[in-house]
């Protein structure tokens, strides 16, 4: 039941793990009046402890990976992770550099991937909508 409730007003936690800020300004733009996701109750949570969906952007640097894991552990259950951008999905152009890991999936479980470098704000919202569909399926499976 609790999984289903998230759908009504999921709060995002945005964490940049060391990317170029391109995805960050697109996540920011997706929350701006032009798209206004507060129509669905989506908004940025002031703290991880209030969040439902963790939006990871940027290449996962080794120093930030430790913090990402800690952040994920601090989030209340049920929690979901969206990896935004090529770097968070599997390293993007930085594959093979000594400072980074290949994608957020090496640190935490990821539920949805949004490709693009950076993805458009519409694409990010589409990714979140896609996650909702997944959540709904999960809720159905649980209620059975």
């Amino acid at each position: 039941m609790s999984i289903k409730l998230i759908r009504y007003s999921p709060w995002l936690v945005h964490f940049n793990t060391g990317g170029c800020n391109g995805c960050d300004i697109e996540v920011l733009a997706a929350l701006m009046p032009h798209f206004d996701p507060e129509r669905f109750g989506v908004r940025l949570a002031p703290s991880v402890r209030h969040g439902d969906i963790l939006v990871v952007t940027g290449a996962i640097t080794k120093k930030a990976a430790v913090r990402l894991k800690r952040l994920y552990d601090q989030m209340p259950n049920p929690k979901f992770v969206v990896a935004v951008g090529a770097c968070a999905c599997d390293g993007g152009v930085f594959k093979g550099a000594y400072g980074i890991l290949r994608g957020a999936k090496e640190v935490i479980p990821v539920d949805a991937y949004v490709p693009g470098c950076p993805p458009r704000p519409e694409a990010i919202l589409y990714g979140i909508v896609k996650l909702f569909q997944k959540i709904e399926l999960l809720a159905k499976a649980k209620s059975k």
């Binding site: 640097t61 080794k62 120093k63 000594y98 400072g99």
Partner: protein, 153 residues
């Protein structure tokens, strides 16, 4: 134009320190100087042009493994001449040590820390140097300087 004439040429300022002159594209003059003279050269530039018109633009270390040396390029932007000059020093690769210019140019802090962390060039007199300024822990533990050409991790 008359203003530009009043500003002395950096070549005249550093005349007795220059070992040889090179050129970096596009039209940046390189003055190769001895590694012990770097402090003198920089304080001379600062004195000549004044404290508000010449700033340290960048410090680039290069590992030249075939010649067994490390090169350190100080890029200095001289505002009244709208020119960038390069001071180049060469250090032995086995023991790359140079005097810090931190007390002359406080702006050298980030460059010296970065160069130490990535290339392992020691700056005498800079006590802010530490490993892990940029480089992740696991690379630091192995004692590897990632920008050296023989670095493996």
């Amino acid at each position: 134009m008359s203003e530009a004439k009043a500003v002395p040429d950096p070549k005249d300022v550093l005349r007795d320190l220059i070992i040889r002159e090179e050129l970096v594209k596009p039209n940046r003059r390189v003055f190769v100087i001895d590694k012990t003279k770097i402090r003198e050269a920089i304080s001379r530039i600062l004195k000549t042009y004044g404290e508000t018109s010449a700033y340290l633009s960048s410090v680039a270390g290069v590992d030249k493994i075939e010649q067994g040396i490390m090169e350190l390029n100080y890029f200095i932007s001289i505002l009244p001449r709208t020119e960038v000059i390069v001071l180049r020093v060469q250090l032995p690769r086995a023991n790359p040590v140079i005097d810090s210019i931190l007390d002359i140019y406080p702006g050298a802090l980030n460059f010296e820390c970065e160069t130490y962390d990535l290339l392992g060039i020691q700056f005498n007199g800079n006590k802010f140097l530490k490993r892990g300024f940029f480089v992740p822990e696991d690379v630091v533990k192995k004692g590897v300087y990632p920008l050296r050409k023989d670095a493996k991790w």
